[in-house]
Symmetry: D2
Subunit: 335 residues, 4 copies
C-alpha cells in the first residue's frame, strides 16, 4: 500500500486528488497539508467528502511527512512550490509536483515567464510526467513535474505527427478552450458567476505560460525546435479542455493515413482514445481519458483533443505518474 | 426630458438602469457616480456599453447633482444609502432608493435585521414603490423606496387573494429561487463560477431580510397581520426569481374562480401577465414583466410568479416608479 | 462475483449504472440490452465509455439473460416495465426495477396516475427499495421496486420526524427542484438547450406521479395516512434534486432537538449525512449521498435534502439494493 | 412608418426580429407568417411576448402580404427560402432573406454545399447584406441576402487587413465557437440539455457551409481569391460567437500599427467597436455590436471578434439592412 501525502490539499487539484485516491486499491491517503487558515477536517473544507474521508488537513510538518508518506503530491502554486520541493525530497518522499516550477528545462525561459528559479539542481533531475510520451523517464524518478493541462491536451493531439516527422515544425497553431475550474479556487471578478456564466473569451494573448511548455514538449518529441502559437480561451463550463491544433503536413496525407497513424501510435495507451468522430469535453469530464480526432482540411491537418483539465490535466495524471513510479498497474484508481 | 442621475452606478443595478435609460424616450442619463476606485468611462467600467454611452462615472458632487439631475436612482447598499439620501434630497432631486433603508416602516424591525436607523424622518415619508399595489402613494413622492426583488415577486403572486380576504393570513409559505445576479458584483467563494455552476442551495434559513418586508407588504394589502415563512434559494442562472407560494384558502375555490380573480385584479396592469400555464424565468428575463399562474392543489392554493430580479425586481421597477412620479406614461422605456 | 444485466441500458440510468458497476469489486456487468435501434457497442452508444467497457448492447434474449446474469437492473420506462419483469423473474434472475410499476401498492392509485396494471401478482411481492427506511424487506427479495428520485430525497428529509410522530401528518409540503437529466434522453422542446438553459419552471402542478409515491412512503413510515402537497420544478443544471419540505410540529422543537434527532436516526447510515449547514446539489453530484439539514423557522420545521437524481435517486440506490439483496457490504462500489 | 412582415416567424430569428421591431420607432410589425402547425397568437407561440405583441402568426397569404407590408424579413430555412422569395418579390415587397439561398454568387459552390438552385435570376441581383463592407450595394436593393452568423464575425475581424493587402490570402484560419441558439428551435439529441450542458465540441469538420461564404466575402474585400480554413465549435451558452482568426502578415506589423488600422477602418461604424482588450461574448449578447481585438503573436496576427449570433449574426443585421434600404438612420431600433 503506497502512502500518499497531499501538500496544498485545499484547492481543486487537492480535492480531485483526494477523490481519486479514495478509490485507489493500492494507495492510501495518509497526510494532508495546507496553509494554517485553510486547515480543518476534510469534510468541512470540502463538503462533498462528508462521511467519506476522516482525515484532517493540517499545517505541513516535515517530520510527520517523512514518517507518514512514501510520496507527496505537491499541489502548491507556481513559484511557491520550488521553495518546498527540496524539503519534501529531503524528507525522503518521492514528489510529484503540480506547479510549473520543474517543467521548463531552460531556466531562462522559466525566468522570463515566472520568476528567478531557486532550485535549479532539482530542476535538472525532474522527469516530465507525460507518460504517453516520456514513460521511461518517469519510472523510478524521485521528482516528477506533472504537466500543465493545456500542454497535455495539445501535445497528445499532435504527437504522432511530430514523432513521424510528418508536419512542419514552424507555425503549429494551438487554439484551446478550457472550463473555469482551471482558474483555481480564488474568487475573482472574471470568474464571478454572473460575469463568467454564458460567457466565452480569450486570454493570455501572446503571453500564456503554457506556450513555452508546449514548445518544449513538442521539440522534445520531434528532436528539433518546434514553434507554437498557443491561444487559450475560457468558457462557462466547469471541466474540460478542447484543443484544436492546426498544422501543415509536409506531404499529402489522407484521412485514412491519419487514422491509422494515430491508432497505431496510441494502441497500447490505456488513456488515449482515437475517435471516429469529433471529441466532446463532456465525454471525458471526470475521467483520465484523452479523446482525439484528426482530419485533413484544405491542405492542413486539424487535430482535436479533449481532456478533463483537473484529471488528465492535473490530478489524474499525477496518480498515473505515481503508479508508474511505484511500478503499479498504470491505470489503478483511474478507470 | 427628465434628467436622471445614478448614484452608485458601478454595480449590476446601475448597469441595468443605464441599459434601460439609454432607450427611454423622455428621460436622459446626465450624471453617474460611484466610489472613486470604481470610476471611469462607462464603456470601460461596463464593456457592453462600448460605443453606446459617452458618459463618465465620477465621484459624487452634490452641486453637480443639483445642477444636472431631476431625479436620482440611488443604487447604494443597505446601511450606506441612508447616509446619502438626505443629502440627495437636500440637493433638490427626487430619490428612488434601491436599498432596504426606506422600506421597513417599523424602525425596530429594520434595526433587528440591519443596523440602527439614522434617517427615520425621511423613512416616515418614503413611499413604498410597488406600483401594482401602491400606485397612488408613489405619484408625486419625493422619496420612493424601491422594493426588494423577492418581495416584489412574492407579493404580486398572492396579492389578489389577500386583497379579497380569501386566504388565511397565517402560514403563508414563500419558496423562492433566484438567479445569481442577486448576489451583486463582489466576488465571493459561494459565487465563484466553479462553485456556483451546476449548483442550487438554500440560504438565509429563517433569517433572510426580505421576510419582514414581504410580511409588511402583505399586511398592508390585507389590512391585518400576515405571517410569512420565506425560504430563498439560489440557482446557477443569471437572472430571474421564481416564487412558489403556498397558502390556505378560507373557502373552497376552483381553478376557474382563481383565474377570474387574477385576471380581473391585474387586467389594467401593463407589467403583470396572468398565464394559462406555468411561468418560467426565461420568459421574463430582461423584461419588466411579472408572469403569474395560480392553481388549487390538495386543498391549498399554489401561486407561482416569475420576474427578472434586476428589472422588475430592481432597475425596471425603479424606472416604472420614476415614470409615475413624473406623470409619464408608466411603461415608457420598459416595453 | 455477482453477474449483472442491465435491461434498457441505452438511457441515462443505464449509463449511470454501467459507470458504477465498472468500479464494483464484487459485481461484473455481463449482459446489456436495449431496443434493436438503440443497440451497438457500449462505447459507440456512450462515447464516455470508449476504451472502458468492451460490451455490446444487444436486443433482449431471455435465454442469454438466464445464462449470463444473477440479477437484472430493469431500466425500462413506466408501463413498459411490467410487461418484461415477469419474464425476467421467470428467467431466474433477481430484478431491481427502476420504473414506477412496482412501487405503488394500491393498484387503484397506480391506475389513476398511469395505466391498467398487468402484473399485480408480482406487485404484491415487490419490496420497496429505500434501504434507509425499509432495509429488512429488501434482504433476499426477488423483486425490488427502486424508488423514484423525488420520493427518495423528500422521504429521507422528513423520515425522522414522521417516525417519532413529531409532526402533523396533514399538510406536508414538498417543494423540489431537479436537474434536467431527470427528463430522460428523449429530446423535447422544453429540454432543448436554448430553451432550458438559464431557465427554471414548475411543472406537474397538482398532478405529478411522485405525489402518491411520497405519500405512500411517509404513510408507511408513520403508520398513519400522510397527506402531501408535492410541487416539482426543473432547473438548468444536469444533476441533483434539492427538496425543501415544510411541516408542522406537534410540539415545539429546538434546532438542537432536531439536530440530535436526525444524527441519531441516521448515525449508522453510510449514505445519509446530516449537515450543520445548508446542503447543496453540487456537493452530492455524482455520489450516492443524501445531505440533510433541518431547522425551525416561524413555528414550522423546514427540512432540506440534496441527492443526485441519477445516483441516490436511481442507479446508485439500485446498486445499494443489489448489495443488500446479495448480502454484500452495502456501500460496495458506491463510496 | 415602414410596415414589416416576417415570413417564418416561429423560430429564434423570428422572435428576435419581433423583439427588435417592437422597439423600432419608424417601423411596425404588420404581418407574421409560419407553417400552419406553428401558427397562433404571438404570445402563445412565444410566452416572452405575453402582453407585448397583439399579433397573430398566420399561414402565408401573398395578397395580405402585398397589402400589409413594405418589406419582408424571410426567416425560412436554406433550400426552402428560394421557393418563396420570388413570390414575395412579386407581391411587391422588398425582401431581406436570412437563408443561404442568395448569399453564394457562384451557383456551383451553392449546389455543392446545398442543392440545385432554383432561382438563379434573383440570386444575381441580390445584395450581400454586410453593411460595414458592402453598404453601397444594399441601398435601394430589392433583395438582400442577410449574411451567415459565422461569416459576419469572421469577416469583420479581418477585413481591415484584407482591404489594405497586409496579409497573405492563403491559409487564413478561422476558429469559431458559437452558442447553442445557432442550432435553431428543432430539438435534437446533440442539443438536448443534459447532453449539451457543460459541453463543447467541434462540428462540421472540413464541411461547414459557411466556409465558402467566408471565402467569398474575403475574396470580395481583397479582390483576389482568399483561401480559408474554417472550424466551428459549439459551446454550452445561449448566444454569441467568438471567432479567433489566425493570419500571416506580409510585412511586420506592430500592435500599434494594427490598433490604428482598425480604429481608422471602423471609426464611423455604429456597430463595430475596436477594443483595447479581449472581447467577450457576454459583452455583446443581446446587442447588434461586434467587438474586435487584434494582436501580433509569434509572427502571426491573431484577430478576435465577438457578436451575438441572433442579433448582429441574424435579426439585428437584417434590421440594419432594412434601415439602409429605406434610407432610415442605420442604427434605428438597434442601440
Amino acid at each position: 500500500m503506497i502512502k500518499v501525502a497531499i501538500i496544498g490539499a485545499s484547492g481543486y487539484t487537492g480535492s480531485e486528488s483526494i477523490q481519486i485516491l479514495l478509490r485507489h486499491e493500492q494507495a492510501e491517503l495518509t497526510y494532508l497539508t495546507a496553509l494554517p487558515e485553510e486547515c480543518g477536517a476534510v469534510e468541512d473544507v470540502f463538503p462533498q467528502f462528508k462521511g467519506r474521508c476522516p482525515l484532517q488537513i493540517e499545517p505541513l510538518d516535515l517530520d510527520k511527512l517523512s514518517e507518514l508518506a512514501d510520496v507527496a503530491l505537491c499541489c502548491l502554486p507556481h513559484k511557491v512550490s520550488m521553495g518546498f520541493v527540496p524539503k519534501l525530497l529531503d524528507a525522503g518522499v518521492k514528489v510529484i509536483d503540480f506547479s510549473a516550477d520543474y517543467r521548463l528545462k531552460d531556466v531562462d525561459v522559466y525566468e522570463k515567464y515566472y520568476v528567478k528559479h531557486t532550485d535549479t539542481e532539482n530542476l535538472m533531475h525532474a522527469a516530465f510526467g507525460l507518460p504517453e510520451l516520456f514513460r521511461e523517464r518517469i519510472k523510478g524518478a524521485s521528482l516528477v513535474a506533472n504537466p500543465g493541462c493545456y500542454p497535455t491536451g495539445a501535445s497528445l493531439a499532435v504527437a504522432p505527427l511530430l514523432k513521424k516527422g510528418l508536419i512542419e515544425t514552424e507555425n503549429v497553431i494551438v487554439n484551446s478552450v478550457t472550463g473555469s475550474s482551471g482558474a483555481g479556487m480564488k474568487p475573482s471578478s472574471k470568474f464571478h458567476f454572473p460575469n463568467m456564466n454564458e460567457n466565452l473569451f480569450p486570454y493570455g494573448i501572446g503571453t500564456h505560460r503554457h506556450m513555452p511548455e508546449i514548445e518544449q514538449i513538442m521539440t522534445d518529441v520531434v528532436g528539433k525546435k518546434v514553434t507554437v502559437l498557443f491561444q487559450p480561451h475560457v468558457g462557462s463550463f466547469d471541466r474540460g479542455i478542447l484543443s484544436t491544433v492546426y498544422c501543415q503536413p509536409k506531404t499529402k496525407l489522407s484521412d485514412e493515413d491519419l487514422s491509422k497513424l494515430y491508432h497505431d501510435f496510441y494502441q497500447d495507451e490505456p488513456f488515449v482514445q482515437v475517435r471516429k468522430d469529433a471529441p466532446a469535453v463532456k465525454d471525458v469530464a471526470g475521467t483520465n481519458y484523452c479523446h482525439i480526432f484528426v482530419a485533413c482540411v484544405k491542405g492542413k491537418i486539424v487535430c482535436f483533443s479533449a481532456i478533463d483539465n483537473l484529471v488528465k490535466g492535473a490530478s489524474g495524471q499525477a496518480i498515473q505518474n505515481m503508479n508508474i513510479i511505484f511500478g503499479l498497474e498504470e491505470a489503478l484508481g483511474l478507470k
